[in-house]
Symmetry: C3
Subunit: 309 residues, 3 copies
């Protein structure tokens, strides 16, 4: 997410008592978690294991706890606790205020959109035209919903990312990202779509979700996907267009599901899947291979009996 | 669902510019999706694969995209796009209006029933006697709840079916069916029970559900069933009486679970199950067979070692 | 849960027409289900299978349907239907009243705590300092929330236990227990945490839950646990400190997960787990053994081919 206005790296360093190493005059335009950084962003890194990823990312500036090698045209801001500084910036980018009305006077609601009672619409929410938001939906501050979107009751859009730093218990990273729901999406009852940590969680145009679907922070769903009930997708997942996930499929974080993949019910994904194929199982395999495996296992007693003879 | 009053097949044909073939004078009493049609109904069919099923169903009239063989005493209404016409009729049967009060003045609430705050009760809802509806429940328009029913917070009754026609993306079929919840049912927190596409989703008397149970459109649950938390049942499923489903069981669409069946936790059902037995696994098997299979798999390393020798 | 004031065993017996056998002068301080009884409690038992467990529990008094051997310094209250008497006492301990305001005037809310609109706070709820309760949360009567707790939208705290007596259908045991959420807990969107039947469901300090996590009645979660989305834990489970459960893990009732255990996604637990280890699978095994098993199964076609030769 971007700052209200860009700030020079050296000025940011001064503000947080950071040692500024490298291209000190670069303008920082916003902050981003390392998975979603783009040019102009400040990201953070506090473990040598991730130094390389951070300094070689698209980030312009890196909040870091130690000087390390880094490419030209970047800048390090060296502080004792990068996580704390990043969190503080994050809280400035999303200046959360508890609101006491069900619909914020600063929300923008398009023509023809109907919002039913019991629904909460937070500060700075933008909803397009001809949407239908059923009762008892919650849309946190800052989320964007485009045109002709239908959201069923009980659904929660834009709750915080499940993102903590482990350190004698867990320290929360404030989520300053948002959610963007594109045209013609329908979201079932009691779904949860978390906001990005520092970027957008996106639901692509024309995608349809059944009830109780969970979408983690910073996950980007393509166009015209179909997710059956109780599907759960973790954070930072990339689901390409036309993907079908049947009921209760679970998807781990930080992987990609290729265009047009179909995943059968209750499958569990711990790695990326190529598009255009059908998958099944936990851990998931191509469905044909999995079906052969299941058939073979059923025959095992007989096979072993024969072999014993 | 029935029309307000029956309409003659030929009159309906005229209205939609359909070619009327067969028993043109038959009275059409309502519309129904092919899984739930009864005598008097109009259903629709737009793919040769389903022509046989449609014309041989209980339907009196079939909206279809091409003339095909059909039994006497039926009538075809031939139109270019049966889905669109059916959708239009569906929208007339359920004339949905966004409502601006939490409890519709046209809802009927029985004596002794307590409805707690934050709960939405839609147009035409009927709730019987001595029910307890906890806070923040949502009951969509037209749903029927009988006597002594308890519904816990966050639950959503009567959201739209997850039902689309694929066609360069997905085209929504408006759900004009309802939900009927019989006497003495208890429904846990944050459950979702979808309305039928054109008929009723039914929860049979005395059935008890834990939290986060999902019931799809047009599913009919018998009496005195017990569903543990996070069970998910797709649409058009028939669950007979006294069935027990333990936690996180998933059930695919359009199958039957026989009376008294018990399905252990996390099982996945892709086909119908006979009653009176205990099942386990994904894909599900009889529990005894599955347990033997699991024991055998655990011994595999040893078995293979021996065989190698 | 305790009575307002202790009552002598013989007085309680008189009230319910019970035959009082044993230490009739003992003071009964409250009621508890057998899994959570402590000294002073009355518990109940109506099946010979459980007589031993009941009379040898910590309970001071046992509502029972038949005289049986029991230790000295205990007292039996013999009645025809212990369940009914227990239920009646339970309803007195939790005198539930439907409330017509979103926040009970008898709730206590600490300094710095923000409660957003659409949230229901029941009779006698106590919330500590500097908590943030997002919109459309439901907190049933009597629940206790300590300091700096964050609860996201759609979550339901304190719904009734899923606890019935089977008897020509199911007879509900009124839940008179509560929920206690300790300091620095964060609970995601659309979670459900049921109240204890007669004791407390506890979420230990510093524990963090993602969205759609289900916690059953009387379950006690330790400190600094981490539960990913769609985890489901049944009733009367004991989760020790620092346990990590990844997405969609299911846990059956009445077992223990040892300190520091890690359970990978979609695993299913039907028995207790030792702490300090990593587990996977349904049914769950140690992850290393399960991974070997999975690798072996993949090689099965080849192995059998070879053995046939």
């Amino acid at each position: 997410m971007d700052f209200k206005e860009p700030i020079k790296a050296s000025d940011l360093a001064t503000r947080f008592g950071a040692v500024c190493v490298g291209a000190k005059n670069l303008q920082i335009t916003g902050i981003n978690e390392v998975h979603r950084v783009t040019d102009g962003d400040l990201t953070f890194c506090d473990h040598p294991k991730y130094y390389d990823k951070a300094v070689n990312s698209e980030a312009t500036a890196i909040l870091i706890d130690k000087v390390t090698d880094f490419p030209k045209n970047k800048v390090l801001l060296v502080v004792k606790n990068p996580f704390e500084v990043f969190t503080q910036l994050s809280e400035e980018v999303r200046a959360f205020k508890a609101q006491d009305t069900m619909i914020s006077p600063n929300a923008k609601i398009g023509a023809g959109t109907r919002i039913m009672p019991g629904t909460f619409v937070g500060e700075g929410v933008v909803i397009g035209k001809n949407c239908l938001i059923h009762p008892n939906v919650t849309i946190y501050d800052g989320c964007k919903i485009e045109d002709r979107v239908i959201i069923h009751s009980g659904t929660v859009i834009g709750a915080d990312a499940f993102y903590y730093k482990r350190n004698n218990g867990y320290r929360k990273l404030n989520s300053c990202g948002t959610v963007r729901i594109e045209n013609d999406v329908e979201i079932g009852a009691s779904c949860t779509i978390d906001r990005g940590v520092t970027a957008e969680t996106v639901i692509g145009a024309g995608t349809k979700m059944d009830n109780m679907v969970q979408i983690g922070h910073d996950t980007v769903i393509g166009k015209n996907c179909l997710f059956a009930a109780q599907v759960g997708i973790a954070g930072v997942v990339n689901v390409e267009d036309d993907v079908i996930l049947w009921g209760q499929v679970g998807v781990q974080k930080d992987l990609t599901i290729g265009k047009g993949a179909v995943v059968l019910g209750q499958s569990g994904l711990a790695k990326s899947l190529e598009g255009g194929k059908t998958y099944f199982g936990s851990p998931v395999r191509e469905a044909k291979a999995k079906m052969r495996e299941i058939a073979l296992i059923k025959q095992l007693p007989e096979i072993i009996e024969r072999l014993k003879k």
